[in-house]
């Protein structure tokens, strides 16, 4: 069943597994999220579930938002996202239903999306892992430059302009990044906490989306099925 929840990245720490292996983990406070709208093929042309997360004071919200979330019987929420579900699955959700981190309790893996930390305007070495130029052998004041950017406007190797999509210096970070197939180490239903293995994009206290994994490769897919069974 497809599922997506919103949460806050709290920070990282380490967990010792039973075998004594030190594992880096990210602590995410997930939900509770409220189902604020159920979209149907008949009415909206596609089937999806919209959820809201994080209470916001009514005076900080807008009348349309208060009305929209009011239909689900909750106060206004700060963030809303929706995720596609099959028409058959749509019946499992109901308006105003509260979704907590417990929904992920049986998962072995999840996908997490967030907004990466902004790095500002960066050169090609940091932004695209270019090599730069040699330190010596006659190189002068060009050690971090990208080198030739060529003229490839025709996409065939010739022409007066650089090729479209040529990797150059520019703004880096502050973009949506998804890390897939992160292992779920612990689910703390009492405190709405989810511990996933490894790092998660974005700064601490930033908003992250947690969803059921898509495209797990074979061994992880098998473990996921095993855990869900």
């Amino acid at each position: 069943m497809a599922l997506k929840l919103l949460g806050t990245k709290l920070g990282m720490t380490r967990v010792f597994t039973d075998e004594g292996v030190s594992t880096p983990v990210t602590v995410i406070e997930v939900g509770p999220c409220v189902v604020t709208q159920i979209k149907t093929v008949a009415k909206d042309g596609y089937s999806a579930v919209q959820i809201g997360f994080d209470d916001v004071k009514p005076r900080r919200s807008t009348m349309p938002m208060i009305g929209h979330d009011g239909k689900a019987g909750t106060g206004p929420k700060r963030h809303h996202v929706e995720f596609r579900v099959d028409e058959k699955e749509a019946g499992e959700f109901e308006l105003g239903q509260s979704l907590t981190v417990e929904s992920f309790a049986k998962h072995a893996f999840v996908d997490v999306s967030g907004t990466s930390k902004g790095k500002g305007f960066q050169g090609t070495m940091k932004r695209h892992n270019f090599k730069g130029q040699p330190a010596s052998h006659g190189v002068e004041r060009k050690h971090r430059s990208p080198g030739s950017i060529g003229g490839h406007a025709t996409n065939r190797g010739t022409g007066p302009k650089p090729k479209k999509g040529k990797r150059m210096a520019g703004h880096m970070g502050d973009e949506r990044v998804t890390v897939r197939s992160l292992g779920v180490l612990r689910v703390d239903a009492e405190r709405n906490l989810l511990l996933v293995k490894g790092s998660v994009p974005g700064a601490n206290k930033s908003l992250v989306e947690i969803r059921t994994p898509t495209r797990l490769y074979k061994s992880k897919g098998d473990r996921q099925k095993e855990a869900m069974a």
């Binding site: 709290l10 920070g11 720490t13 380490r14 967990v15 010792f16 039973d18 075998e19 004594g20 030190s22 602590v27 703390d188 405190r191 906490l193 511990l195 601490n204 206290k205």
Partner: protein
């Protein structure tokens, strides 16, 4: 609860509370659990505690010993379940927090004085030798 406190509270159950009082300069025994296949045995690493760093679950100690005239240093996470226990063999006087200068010492000068300026805080704490 602040974020940092919340994360630390997650770790508290993993923290050991049976760690003996030991300080930089002490000679200690570290009992490591070594898993070979399905068998488990304990290996003891004895050496001088030369550095202590980190807080909470990240606490690490560095232990130095001499094996076949070659200095060997190992870093242990204090709260790792792979470490069965710590023992203090001999207490000694150290006037700095990191004893990296011992790496340059040869022979008898490697030994640390066991006269403690302030031994009061470990009074009554037994060492293995005693």
């Amino acid at each position: 609860m602040s974020t940092q406190l919340l994360i630390e509270s997650l770790n508290t159950e993993a923290l050991k509370n049976d760690i003996p009082k030991m300080d930089v300069g002490d000679t200690i025994n570290v009992h490591c659990r070594i898993v070979e296949g399905d068998k488990e045995r304990i290996q003891v690493f004895q050496g001088v505690l030369i550095s202590w760093k980190g807080r909470g679950i990240n606490e690490m100690i560095r232990v130095r010993r001499i094996v076949n005239d070659e200095g060997v240093e190992r870093v242990f996470p204090l709260h790792s379940p792979r470490i069965a226990k710590f023992e203090v063999v001999r207490r000694a006087d150290a006037r700095r927090a990191k004893l990296y200068f011992l790496r340059d010492r040869v022979g008898r000068s490697r030994r640390l004085r066991d006269r403690r300026r302030a031994m009061e805080h470990v009074k009554g704490e037994m060492t293995v030798q005693q």
